[in-house]
Symmetry: C2
Subunit: 286 residues, 2 copies
């Protein structure tokens, strides 16, 4: 049971968590914070939060659970702002997509890595953003990764885990660097490829005609290119090490594939395509 | 009105066309042909075709419309086989995804480019294949491109156009090379990228774990990597000129993007991502 939940950054991710916990009946009061009072008022009007304060230091007062759902580039300043105002029993977690970056921001913003800070990342979301797109079922059956550090209080980790489980998610713990590698492969690389491909096509002279002949497969493939550009700019910069590693690997494989096409090497093309289809079919069954 | 329709290659594309024309009431008899009699019998059992002959020369006899829906690599042999058996009033068209390749196959298989041959390409399909996946609505509101040549009989083109319109499609004509460029951009490039990305991930040592954390965006992005590997091998080989041109363009843009990440150039990343999102959102509204 959470006495008072404070969500800093009430968009799709924070708003859906608030809705889910409210629906599960595991939270007393929900306080929101963020930069724009009109967005926070919308969250109140939608029943997502009970009240708000644009001053994050005021919003966290008396909260025993603080979830920071702001862009990666804004984490450090939020941590610095809330530190003096946190309740003695407060646990702080976040929803950032790149964990080494958040850990660095916590070290800088809090002045050290506190035992009550639990880095976290819900593997969920849609290409939409904003509190109006939030819904209580977003985390049902989805995975949440926590990356507690050596000095993190196990009780704090357990409290954050219980919160996400109440929202319907499955929680796993792993190391910070491993999280960043896995997410670079499954999320950051596909987003970068989709953004870049649509950009490449959009800069061609016959753009209008090209998109006119785009079929369903293209629409599925490029859906994630509709995601928030600023959020993805921040993710690429925050997880640059792992994203660059995956990009190098992919670019090398793609160069080989282009060479196979140039050489008319049908056997190699078929090997790559068969391997991909087998993996896609095998894993999408689960 | 089509007196007798012969579909050579009764899978998703040919089967869906047969179903649509039957439903529209614009076809007398539908004869199927293909390599495997068990697949053709399945098409009869499903009511997609009336009868079949695995010998394409026998199947086309008396047909006034012949639609060749076989893999690109099999076109030439089919053209060669059916030529002596075609009715005097027969119009032949195809559904191949790369038109220069089909035109070359027609020139070789028919011995010349006949006035009654109309190269065509329905921009439709799913990642599934086979007649069991076919459905009458596949072409509703979808586009079909015809690439008639200089010597193509306008009456033949008109008959093929009327057929696809009866199946619910919008028909446009364009040049062979232009078709291949447009399709390389909107279809062949995304398929190659999706196949290659899933292959890259599947060859990583922690494959199982990586796919476990794949979320909805990944599933959308990679759906087309579930497509038929042999068909896509053939498309890459048949449209190598245009596919390589698009791949070069994309690889150059991706190298620039990687350099922007390496340099921490957030403004450049945001420019690319914003441009992509704007194009995706603008064109997906239509």
């Amino acid at each position: 049971m959470i006495r008072r939940l404070c969500i800093i950054g009430v968009g799709l991710i924070g708003g859906s968590l608030a809705r889910a916990l409210r629906k599960a009946g595991v939270v007393g009061e929900i306080v929101g914070s963020g930069r724009r009072s009109e967005h926070l008022q919308e969250a109140v009007d939608l029943g997502v939060i009970d009240r708000f304060d644009t001053d994050a230091a005021k919003a966290v007062q008396g909260a025993d659970m603080v979830v920071v759902c702001v862009p990666l580039g804004a984490m450090e300043q939020v941590f610095r702002t809330i530190l003096p105002a946190l309740a003695a029993d407060a646990v702080v977690t976040d929803a950032g997509s790149a964990k080494a970056s958040v850990v660095n921001a916590a070290r800088a913003g809090f002045g050290k890595l506190p035992t009550w800070f639990v880095p976290g990342h819900p593997i969920a979301g849609t290409e939409k953003s904003g509190v109006a797109a939030s819904f209580a079922e977003l985390y049902q059956g989805r995975r949440v990764i926590l990356t507690p550090l050596e000095n993190t209080d196990p009780a704090a980790t357990a409290k954050v885990q219980a919160m996400w489980e109440a929202a319907g998610a499955q929680v796993q713990c792993m190391g910070v660097e491993h999280h960043d590698d896995v997410l670079a492969a499954t999320s950051h690389l596909p987003h970068v490829l989709a953004f870049q491909m649509v950009d490449t096509l959009a800069r061609m002279s016959d753009e209008d005609e090209i998109f006119r002949y785009a079929a369903g497969g293209f629409r599925d493939f490029t859906r994630i290119a509709s995601s928030d550009p600023v959020m993805w700019r921040d993710i690429c910069l925050a997880n640059d090490r792992a994203v660059l590693k995956m990009l190098e690997r992919f670019r090398s494989d793609l160069a080989n594939l282009a060479e196979a096409i140039r050489a008319g090497d049908g056997a190699e093309l078929e090997r790559v395509f068969r391997n991909a289809k087998a993996a896609r079919d095998r894993h999408s069954e689960r």
